[in-house]
Symmetry: C3
């Protein structure tokens, strides 16, 4: 059984959805030692999130931003948590809808993703700054 864990800080990303698969893999060369296992990427924040989705056409990512802004609008009349700005409360809700982590099987030293799957950083704040991730890999 091998167990690896490391914390990394992403560069700041603008509000929106961003592919970070390569950044995650570069941070974790030890994955090559895992024949059969699982990798978790966890984000230590409540207004940004992680998901898996299409890694090819960038309009998928801009359509995500459009749709989440419609489904979880700014300035809804029922928000009471408003003092950190209009982008704050929607960011919390979007973060929980998408989730703080992704868990991906590892097979033969590689992420066993589908051919079209990539890891998205979902930045829900206008100026979210650098986000901290904890990456954990384990297996045999």
């Amino acid at each position: 059984m091998n167990f690896f864990q490391r914390q990394i800080k992403l560069k700041p990303y603008p509000r929106g959805f961003h592919l970070i698969t390569d950044e995650v893999l570069r941070a974790f060369p030890e994955i090559k030692q895992i024949n059969m296992g699982q990798l978790q990427v966890f984000i230590k924040h409540t207004s940004a999130s992680l998901t898996l989705n299409e890694n090819a056409d960038y309009t998928v990512r801009t359509d995500f931003e459009s749709h989440f802004n419609k489904m979880v609008p700014e300035n809804a009349p029922y928000y009471r948590h408003t003092y950190e700005g209009p982008d704050d409360m929607p960011a919390h809700i979007k973060a929980s809808l998408l989730g703080a982590s992704v868990e991906i099987p590892v097979s033969d030293g590689k992420l066993n993703l589908g051919i079209w799957q990539g890891i998205y950083l979902c930045e829900h704040r206008d100026f979210g700054g650098s986000r901290n991730l904890v990456i954990t890999v384990f297996g045999v």
Copy 2:
């Protein structure tokens, strides 16, 4: 520590929400060897997803389909990723709202699900075809 991993291909399902608990369990008799552990079911696609929900009344699953079609409609005027058909972009968004994997505790050689919980395949495309799953079980 035991570690098992296997890829399976589901039969094609029509658009909608479908119970696949039995199909997953049939593919993994080794779960009986795990006294205390965890099972992950992971889907290698970006327009279908997995979730846990009620395993009894089938109208729960048809109501899921109705509600997701309303919450993430086809032909929204702001979609730009439209060339794969009107069911494509909503499928990507629904997939991320529900997620690409479920992680379930294993106790005494069985999935430790609640009495009403089952595993749903959420097929968001009109003609999604056969979907590939990676199932990973580990524990002691």
Copy 3:
């Protein structure tokens, strides 16, 4: 490799979003023995769920309740699963949007959460009663 698993029953919570981080940690002193690992909290129900979000201002949690009630309304005309009351079908949908489990890295004997992150019990029923959790911790 250490592996611990335990089932706990929460006290009944009213409909809404509730911080349960301390309750989870009190149930699991063994986490101190894990230098590097992962904790899963899993809920054995289909009308309540778990998520991670802000642990400070309680209006974040009341805004969650307001927004989810808007995004997944009661008495939608297309619901057919209605015989358990108007809060039932929305509860199932909310549960799948948020998910039945959270997976959190463990580092140096502690949950490696961000400073603002806490574990929410999301109680979607008017009278959900006591909810059962399975907590699994493993690592080295």
